[in-house]
Every structure is written in C-alpha cells, then in structure tokens.
C-alpha cells in the first residue's frame, strides 16, 4: 500500500487538491484551466505589464521617428484620422536605414522575451499547480529558478522537433511539386500544397502541445532529465491523443473567438480623438485575454494530465 501511495505521489506530485484539479474529461479540464487562470488575475496583470513594457521600450524609437517625420507636415492631419500610402512610402524611404536597424533589434528583443518567458514559465506553472493564490512571490521566484534550466533544455529539444517538422515540410513540398509537374498541374499543386499545409500545421501544433505537457509533467513530477521527460510525454500524448488534441483545439477556438471579438470591436471603435483611448483599451484587453488563454491552456493541460494519470493509476489499483 505504501508503495502504491508513493507511486501515486510520484505520478501526481503534491499540487493543489482543489475540487476539479484532476479532470480526466476534456471539458472539465478546460473549464478548470480557465477558472484557475481567471482566479489569479494578478499573474495575468504582471505578464501583461511585462509584455507592454518590453513593447513600449521597443516602440519608443519608432515614435520619435514618426514624430520627426510628421510633426510639422500637413500629412499629420491625414494620418490623425486615417492612413496614407503616400506618407508610408515617404517614411519608409526616408527612414529606411533606421527602420532596418529597428527591425533587426526586434529579433534580439524576441529572443530576450522568449528567455524571459522560459524563466517565468516555471513560476506560472508552479502557481497553477499549487493551492496558492497571489501574492506568493517567494515561491514564484524560487520556482522560476528551479525550473529555468529544465525548461530551457526543453526549448532546445523542442527546436529539434520543430526542425524535423520543417524538414518534413521540405520533403512534402518536393513531393507535391513532383506530382504536379512543378505546379503545371494546377489543381494537383493547389490541393497538394493545401494538404501539405494542413499536415505541417497539425505537426507544428503537435510539437507545441507536446512541450506544453512536458513542462506540466516536469512540474508535477519534479523531473530532472528533460530527454526522458520528453520521451514519456510523447508516450502520454500518443496514448491520449484524442483528448489532448480536443482540449487543444477547443482552446485554440477560444483564441480565434477572442481574435474575432477584437477585430469586430476595432471596426466599430473610431480610432481618432477619444476613440483612440477606447481602441487602446480594446487592444490591451485583447493582449491580456491572450495571456489569460495561455495560462488557461497550461492549466487545462495540467488538469487533464493529472486526471488521466489518476484514472490510470486507479484502474491499475483495481
């Protein structure tokens, strides 16, 4: 009995035992994830603030460039209420070198942001796993430190997987080209490339999904070897592919709904004068909603993983 208890602990960890934390059903897991993310808006707030701060830092030089270019020009009047291709042409040619340098800096910023989120992911997942609500800064910070190295290794491993996906894309591309006489057979080429895209996108999603679960497992099981964890996660995902994929697609559809909602509101809000502020609020709400959805995705994955694992262990005990 003690052995079984130990195995259970090993598999399930010692995280939250709140009602619904272990959900073998897709809808239950999704709902738990959504609620768990929503319960702790402070996390969302801080992640949004980080996102906004980094973006503001990056966009500041652009503001200066646009200001210099338009502040004393009649074109500012047009741009205050619309957009003119003429101005854009002038701006892009006049500020070409500066814009190129600015664009280059985005890669650096992106890499920084990625690493920053590798660090924060440990704290966020630990929070999702715990019974605690914010503030729990000490544990958040220590969790960031604990998992940073492991999650960074997972990112490196995931790059191999993404690389394989692109390699498969190349193979499929050549195959479609061959079968369609290098595109001369247009319907074959069109459908072939469409199917190729669907396959590749599905694979791309799968890799993303796989490493979400790998992180979840790492936190739940406090794993150390990321290669082994990746292999075991792969086994878990394959065994439970329908549930895992359904949960993922449901959350993706929530994301699509958010995007549509923002798109619709941006069409309604007049982006001038006071409307500019309203548009800004809509934009920031959308960004925060995307962050919330990211947390909900992790929460749902955690709940589903724990629920399915518990059920499996229970079945084994029986």
């Amino acid at each position: 009995m003690s052995v079984e208890k130990s195995e259970f602990d090993d598999q399930m960890g010692r995280g939250t035992s709140s009602p619904g934390a272990l959900q073998p059903s897709v809808l239950g897991a999704m709902w738990w994830g959504i609620r768990r993310a929503w319960q702790n808006k402070a996390v969302i707030f801080w992640l949004w603030l980080i996102n906004l701060s980094v973006a503001l830092f990056l966009v500041a030089p652009l503001y200066a460039m646009i200001y210099d270019h338009t502040a004393l020009s009649t074109s500012a009047e047009q741009l205050g209420s619309g957009f003119t291709a003429t101005w854009w042409t002038d701006f892009s040619f006049a500020e070409g070198a500066a814009l190129a340098a600015w664009q280059g800096s985005l890669w650096v910023a992106g890499a920084f942001y990625l690493v920053l989120h590798v660090l924060l992911a440990g704290g966020v997942l630990a929070f999702l796993y715990s019974d605690q609500r914010f503030p729990f800064w000490a544990r958040f910070a220590s969790s960031c430190g604990i998992y940073f190295g492991r999650f960074f290794r997972l990112v490196l491993i995931s790059l191999v997987f993404y690389g394989v996906v692109f390699w498969i894309d190349g193979l499929l591309f050549e195959m479609v080209e061959r079968l369609s006489d290098n595109g001369g057979l247009q319907p074959q080429a069109w459908w072939g490339h469409l199917i190729r895209s669907v396959v590749i996108v599905a694979l791309f999603f799968s890799v993303s999904l796989l490493f979400d679960y790998a992180k979840v497992r790492t936190v739940v099981r406090d794993s150390r070897s990321m290669i082994i964890e990746t292999a075991r996660t792969l086994g878990f995902v394959l065994r439970n592919a329908p549930r895992v994929a359904t949960l993922y697609l449901l959350l993706v559809s929530v994301g699509a709904a958010l995007m549509a909602a923002y798109w619709g509101s941006s069409r309604v809000i007049e982006g001038t004068g006071a409307g500019l502020l309203a548009l800004f609020v809509a934009q920031q709400t959308y960004v925060a909603a995307r962050i919330w959805l990211r947390l909900a995705t992790w929460g749902g994955a955690m709940s589903l993983y724990r629920g399915l694992t518990a059920r499996r262990l229970a079945a084994r005990q029986d």
Partner: protein
C-alpha cells in the same frame, strides 16, 4: 504565367484557408461547358458615360509596309513548324535600299551563346528566357525574289548591337539591285523551326503550343538605316504595320486561336485541318494550338465604340474564371475606347495559357495572354489585372507602335498608367495580396502591410515568406476600414526603389540592371504621367493623351513625339522637364524647409516660409500660403536656385504652406515635406505608434508561445 505555390506553414491561417476554400470554391467553380466546347455568353455592362467623339479624325488604316502571306504546318510530335512565306516590303523612305534585314527571334533559344542567353546570366537574371527546357531555332532554307532570284548566297547573320558572332537572331540579304523609293520587294521564303520549350513566353508545354515571334520578320527601315536589333533578354519588339494572311495546318484534335479574323477552315481528311486568318493594320501575328481548352465567345457592343467579337481560350481548370476574364476585357475595351479612341479591330482573342507554360501575360496584335493561379477569390484581381494590362497593350504597342527595344517606357509606362487607372475605377484601389496555400487573403489585411516594417525573415528555401508574413501581420488588423494604394501611389513607390540609376529612355538592354530597366519602363514613366495629369488637371491631360493616341495610331512615335503633343495641347513648353526626367536621371524633390513666425513689438506677425529644391530636377513651384484667419496667398517660384524664402508681415501668422496642394507631383521623392504646418502635432505619431505597439505586443506574445 505560373503562380508560385510557395510558403512554409502558417498555423491557424491554413485552418482558415481550408474553411474558406470549402465555403467558397464550389460557389465560384461552376463549370461552364465541357472541354473543347465553344459557347457564347451574354455581354451586359452599363457605364455612366458613353465614349466621347474623337478630337480629330482617327486614322482608319496604317500604311501597309510589311505584308505577309504565310503557310505553316504544325508538327506536334516533332515540335516543329514548317513554313512558306511570301513577304512584300515597300520602301517608304527616300533612300535606295540595297539590303533587307530580318529578325529570327527563335534563334535566341538556339544555344547558350546567343546574346539573349548571355544576357540572361548577366545582372538581374530571370526574365523571359528563364527556365528554358529545350532549345529552339529557325532555319531559313530558301529566300528568293518573286522573279526567282536566289538571295541565299548573300544571306549573312548580323550583330548590330554587340558584335556577338554567335548570335543568329538577325540576318540580312543583299538585293541584286537597289530598291528605290516607293518600290516594293517581294520575297519567297521556306523555313523550318524547332519549337522551344519554356522560352520567352513562347514555345510548347505539353499539348499547348504558343507560337509568337516565329517567322522571319523584316526590320524597320527608318532614319536612313535598318532598325533591326538582336533579340535581347529584357526587350520586346518593333515592326512595321502591314497585312497578314496566315494559313495554319494542325492535327484535328487541336483548337487554333490567332491574330485576326478567321476567314476559312477546312478538314484535310488526313487527321489535320487548316485555318486561315487575315488581319490588316497590324505589325505582328501570334497564334496558339491547344488540345484541351474551352473556347468562350462574347461580343462587345457599346454606343460610339467599334463592336468586337471576343474569343476566350480558357483552360478547363480555369473554367470558373470565364466571366472574370470577359468582364475585365470589357472594362478595358470600354475605358481605353472612351479615353483614347475605339479599338478598331473586329476581333480580340484572349488566351488563358496552360499553367506551367511561359506564355502568360503577353501581348500581340488582337491577341493577348492572361494567366492566374488555380483559384483566386474575386477580391484578388487575378486574372483581372493582367487582362486589363495586356489588353492595354493593344493601344500602347499595338496601335501606337513605338520601338519597344529603344523606348519601352512609351508602351509599358503608358500602359501601366492606363491599366491601374482602369483597375482603380472598375475594382477599387489595389490591396496587397498574401498568398497562403494558394489562397489570397488581401482583403483581410486592410493596410499595405507589404510595406510596413516587419521582422525581416529570410526566404524560406527561396519560396518567400508569404504565409509567415501573413501570420505575422495578422496582428496589425487595427485600422478601421481598408486603405489601399491608389494608382499613383503604386507607381511612385516602385519608382522610388531606384530613382536615379538610369534615364527613362534608353536601349532596353543597356540599363544599369535588369530591375532598373523595369523601373524605368513601368513605374517611373507611369508616375511621371500621373504627375503631369496632376499638374495639368484631368481634363486637359485627358486631351493630351487622347490627342497623342489619335495622332500616332498606326505609327511609330518616339518620346520627342509625345513631348511635342504635350507642348501643343497644353500650351506649355515642358521640354526642360522632359530633358531632365526622360532623358536625364536626376532626383525630383522639392519641399517646404521651414515655416516660422515671430512677433514684433507692434503686434505684427513676421512669418517666413522657405522652400527648397533638394533634388536635381528643376521645375516651377507653386506655393499656397494659408494664414491663421483663413486667407491665402499663392506664390510662384521658378525652382531654379536651391531655395526661395517668402516673408509676410501681417496681423495674423502663417498657419500652413503647401506646394501644389491637392495636386501632388508624383515624382517628388518626398511628398510629406511638400506641406508644412506652423504648430507641431503629435497626433500622427501617437496614433501610428499605438498601432505598432499593439503589433509588437502580439509579436512578443508569439515568441512566448515557444517558452
């Protein structure tokens, strides 16, 4: 033209693509009739204004200088043409002509030593010969005068442009006696051609044969010499007007389309059939033979315009494009006819070429080719754009037949100018296209994102980054409503890619780079015409263009001929501007440098406006100065020195100063500084930066998804 399939994966986008294709494809792919069938369609289209009468009497016919009667047999298995031709050529000069020069264009595809092929490997690459798969050539076997005099002993390949002894795209023969003014030479020729594959928008692809520049074609004698250039990679053609009667024999399972009117058709009883086409007042003849093709017939009729029988050769997989091709053709017939003069021929053949062939997007008298991807929704103007453009060449190249070797801007530039205007009127401002999985998404992207600074992405295995670009730019859907690029904006943006590399008018093969040739042949002259229209006003400029067309219909104008029409109709001498822009390569850039105001102790405002010439091109400047109480003052400056200052002492300060307000000079390299305001404002910076901020936040969020 083949459309590149392109792209790496695009996550969510493809899911949208799949849904869209499922939802939209059945609705647009209603198949007209089966392959090989010919059908008629109704033509109903109303325009707000009928065609105005011509400003002067339109010439009804050209001179018939070079006339051909050709009998050709298409051997589809051997990929050969066997031809016999009788050609008459009239000496319309005052010179004694001792030799005749001819083009043999297909010899450019004979080997890799032709000038054309050598130029292909030079700067720029690409071009019309890219991807040649099988060589082609033309062998002249017999040339005799009508009296039987054999001219073959005098046959000699010539290389007037570059002395490349390996180039065989031009030959000459010597006449036994000089041909006097007004006299006519009649030559009989036999020749055999090997049809190339994948070369210069001609040749064969599977069972599609597109036969252009295919027979020995005489050059143009002008200014005391033969104008008969070798075939060059970037350039097109030049020939005299005449009468063509061409008899084509082909296997019976093929359909034939050709320049001119079909005069007869007969079954030879041996598995072949023969058709004869006839057309007067043209300077070239093109034809096609295709086995699996739908032929759609239509008729364009509109008060004040010449009725036209339209024949559309449509690939079966493009059956859903039938109406779109025809609608675009009718728009073009209407607007070109209304603006410049009625299309004069009875027939027009529109060819949707077989995908994979190199025949797409090219013009020939009374026949042109379009082309499109397998499926484009209606908001993506393909094949409409190429249809209007290539039809436009019926006017700018076909009727007003400038020398395309030397003055490409006169056809490509004029046509780009006309085409984008029609596109804008008929279909609205152009929006950038994003192709993902063969689908275009341009209407989903309401600003010109192709030009917005984005994270630079390396080409994905050379196939572009369109899908990634789309996904990346999705976040930028922030501007309410769509903002497209007007016609002038499109041209200006293209021209500013390299505004000073070359002058506009120059031998086509002698530009700094291939792209410089393109830039100076298409967007720069189009922007120049837009600028002149803006300067003179639509009405006056419309008369200039119409007069130019009417005067030079069925003739060979040069840039100076166009200038003469501009000067005559507008009453202004624009020679200096043309010298700098057409035959010069200077930058055009004026701007208001500053607008400052001080107050005197007597409460009088002293305002100063400085206008500068930043570029090289000199042009008179009109400046509208507006004061705070709404009063205005217009200033004139000859624009010659580098700057000019204007000072005002008034009870109110100057609030704004604008160069040609509402009439942008589209060649100006920076139009933003053409208008200045006194009080700085951050409204544009705030608004645009907010858009970028939001975009950046989304981009950063995508990065975090990999964490």
């Amino acid at each position: 033209m083949r459309q590149a399939p392109s792209f790496p994966p695009a996550l969510l986008v493809v899911a949208i693509a799949v849904a869209l294709s499922a939802a939209l494809l059945p609705a647009t792919a209603a198949m007209p009739p089966g392959e090989g069938e010919t059908v008629g369609v109704e033509s109903v289209m109303a325009y707000p204004t009928p065609a105005p009468p011509a400003l002067s009497q339109l010439p009804e016919h050209s001179e018939h200088i070079a006339n051909y009667r050709i009998d050709v047999r298409l051997l589809t298995e051997e990929k050969e043409l066997v031809g016999t031709q009788t050609m008459s050529w009239t000496n319309t000069s005052s010179d004694q002509i001792e030799e005749l020069w001819f083009h043999l264009y297909w010899n450019a595809a004979k080997n890799d030593q032709s000038t054309f092929m050598k130029e292909m490997t030079g700067s720029g690459g690409g071009g019309r010969g890219a991807g040649i798969e099988e060589w082609g050539w033309i062998d002249v076997e017999r040339i005799e005068l009508a009296d039987g005099t054999d001219l073959m002993p005098t046959f000699e390949y010539m290389q007037p442009d570059d002395d490349n002894a390996d180039d065989q795209t031009v030959f000459r023969v010597r006449l036994p006696e000089p041909l006097g003014p007004g006299e006519q030479a009649v030559l009989e020729m036999d020749w055999t051609s090997r049809i190339p594959k994948g070369f210069a928008r001609t040749g064969y692809y599977n069972d599609f044969f597109f036969i252009v520049q295919w027979f020995p074609k005489i050059g143009v004698y002008e200014n005391g010499a033969w104008n008969c250039h070798q075939y060059h990679a970037p350039t097109e053609y030049y020939a005299d007007f005449g009468v063509y009667e061409v008899t084509i024999t082909a296997p019976q399972e093929y359909q034939i389309g050709a320049t001119g009117k079909r005069m007869s058709e007969r079954d030879n009883g041996d598995g072949t059939f023969t058709v004869t086409h006839y057309q007067e007042d043209v300077h070239d003849f093109a034809w096609l033979a295709d086995r699996d093709v739908i032929v759609v017939e239509d008729r364009f009729e509109e008060p004040g315009l010449h009725p036209v029988d339209i024949k559309l050769f449509l690939q079966p997989e493009h059956a859903h494009y039938g109406d779109r091709y025809l609608t675009a053709t009718r728009h073009a017939l209407h607007y070109f006819g209304t603006w410049y003069g009625s299309y004069p021929y009875d027939v027009l053949t529109v060819v949707d070429p077989q995908p994979g062939s190199t025949a797409g997007g090219m013009e020939y008298p009374t026949l042109f080719t379009g082309g499109a991807a397998y499926w484009n929704p209606e908001w993506v103007l393909s094949p409409e754009g190429v249809t209007i453009h290539e039809f436009g060449h019926q006017f700018w190249y076909g009727l007003v037949a400038n020398n395309e070797f030397e003055h490409a801007w006169l056809d490509e530039g004029f046509n780009s100018y006309s085409e984008t205007k029609i596109g804008e009127i008929a279909y609205g401002p152009a929006l950038p296209a994003y192709q993902v999985a063969g689908l275009n998404f341009q209407r989903f992207v309401p600003v010109n994102l192709s030009a917005i600074p984005v994270i630079p992405l390396p080409p994905w295995r050379g196939r572009g980054t369109d899908a990634v670009a789309f996904f990346r730019d999705l976040a930028l859907i922030t501007f309410p409503g769509g903002v497209g690029q007007g016609a002038a904006d499109q041209h200006r943006r293209g021209y500013l890619e390299g505004p000073t590399a070359d002058q506009m008018e120059r031998d086509g093969w002698d530009f700094f780079t291939r792209s410089s040739y393109g830039l100076n042949s298409y967007p720069r002259p189009a922007a120049f015409l837009e600028m002149l229209e803006s300067y003179f006003g639509e009405e006056l400029w419309g008369r200039v263009m119409r007069t130019y067309h009417e005067r030079w219909r069925f003739r060979h104008p040069t840039g100076r001929d166009f200038l003469a029409v501009v000067n005559e109709v507008t009453g202004e001498d624009m020679t200096e501007l043309f010298e700098q822009v057409v035959w010069g390569s200077g930058l055009f850039d004026y701007g208001v440098d500053y607008l400052i105001t001080d107050t005197t102790p007597e409460e009088v405002y002293v305002s100063q406006v400085a206008v500068r010439r930043y570029g090289d091109v000199v042009f008179p400047v009109e400046l509208l100065v507006t004061f705070e109480d709404g009063s205005t003052q217009t200033e004139q400056w000859d624009g010659k020195y580098r700057w000019k200052k204007f000072q005002y002492e008034r009870p109110v300060p100057v609030s704004r100063a604008e160069i040609y307000p509402g009439r942008p000079l589209w060649l100006d390299a920076n139009l933003t500084n053409d208008g200045a305001i006194a009080e700085p404002t951050d409204v544009a910076a705030k608004r645009l930066t907010m858009t970028y901020l939001f975009w950046l936040q989304n981009v950063l969020h995508w990065f975090s998804l990999f964490a």
